[in-house]
Symmetry: C2
Subunit: 260 residues, 2 copies
């Protein structure tokens, strides 16, 4: 296992639920000896990738990462277009909206607009989830060929819930539907009780694809409201697609209002 692979593995141990890490925890979670973990964490601290929690031997994310992450290109014309449309959709519906990009087999939240609805779903920026089990994820996976989708999931799927696609065939079938109708709905998949409806857009010139969605408590949003959300998202996607000359949306027939 290379040093960089170890380093990345350490960074991936951190999460919203685990903002600190001890040497012993790192050794256990990575399955390596404590001496290896101790040296690795110490070396990462020396380079600014980690720092010690003040007054303790525990480790947390270092300043270098805070600094260079600002330079991550989480802004582009496409992202700004999606962000602007999403902000307006959030205003109109009250539901929280997210812009996500594909990262290997996951989607990563890069923009978020809080809704105004009293009951809402909140996923933080930087959060990742298996793409196949989210609306945004499937919206973006639909932009790939079946072969590319299979290649991303060589290790197979691990469905987080019965509502998510249970195997590759089910996933590919779901993606075929997304390609046909242009939007994607996920209910009770990555997060129980949560529904999302998503669309995707791509800038072919810059080889850039993203998904954006509105999320809501599944039980609180009836079918009529879901159709409204879907229509708003599709409308937004079409406007963006026209701007960036995204051929995907030209191939999607306008839906009749009751089409599921």
């Amino acid at each position: 296992m290379s040093t960089l692979a170890n380093c990345a593995a350490v960074l991936r141990l951190f999460s919203a639920e685990r903002r600190q890490l001890s040497v012993t925890e790192a050794a256990a979670l990575l399955g390596i000896p404590k001496s290896s973990a101790s040296r690795l964490l110490k070396a990462m601290r020396e380079e600014g990738l980690l720092r010690n929690v003040a007054g303790t031997p525990r480790y947390e994310i270092g300043n270098l990462l805070f600094e260079v992450a600002r330079l991550h290109r989480s802004s582009s014309d496409l992202i700004e277009l999606a962000d602007r449309e999403l902000r307006e959709l959030t205003r109109q519906t009250g539901h929280t909206g997210y812009v996500s990009i594909l990262d290997r087999a996951d989607v990563l939240v890069i923009r978020m607009h809080r809704g105004t609805h009293p009951l809402q779903v909140v996923t933080p920026l930087g959060a990742r989830a298996p793409a196949f089990a989210t609306a945004n994820g499937r919206a973006v996976l639909a932009r790939l060929t079946d072969a590319e989708v299979r290649a991303l999931h060589r290790g197979g799927l691990r469905p987080p819930s019965p509502a998510a696609p249970q195997d590759m065939e089910a996933l590919l079938e779901a993606l075929a539907t997304v390609r046909r109708v242009g939007h994607c709905t996920a209910i009770d998949e990555a997060i129980p009780g949560v529904g999302s409806i998503a669309v995707s857009v791509a800038d072919p010139e810059r080889h850039e694809t993203l998904g954006f969605c509105l999320s809501f408590p599944a039980a609180a949003v009836p079918g009529r409201e879901r159709r409204r959300i879907r229509a708003l998202l599709v409308g937004a996607a079409r406007r963006i697609a026209a701007r960036v000359d995204d051929p995907f949306w030209r191939g999607i027939a306008p839906q009749l209002p009751d089409a599921a």
Copy 2:
């Protein structure tokens, strides 16, 4: 040179002015052969630390860093207290305010409040600068002993301008003044034409120190306005210090209005 040191060196090549990097550029900037640079960047991409700019062989900051940087503890009770006071100072004066922390011999901006003044200085979040040549930096360095300050600058100072401290003795003298009066002014130091006035606060229980400042175009802010800014900052620092039981401020006599 260790792999992690090389990795960090690559990450440090990125900046607001250099958001992309080619193999050849990396080799030249790091002084290593192109084969080494090629393999290093490729390995970092494979771990998510970097990614390729779509459609090119060039590299940019990877998604993993965007993701884990969210977990950087750039929020704490102390930071929130400083942030709140700073927001109010920004509102009252119109000048841009920054909260920074020390990172080795640099300061790193972790919070920023844009002013409303038509002419203003803007430094992005995550930006770093040599602590000894900034107001925030010296405010925080003043919390260290002279020995600790010397240890941070073993390689000597490289003053960015004639207005900055030119050597260690000048720096230590400037820090002695900060310890005596509690605030620090820097004019034309890190950035020509820019002035800043800063104070620091520390939470002794959590071993945490930060500086916060207001920045302004030096030529546009007369002495009377500077004294007002200073008084506001000192007042804010004293309120925070009272909250977190910071003994530093108890040792600083209240200043007469004309004290420099």
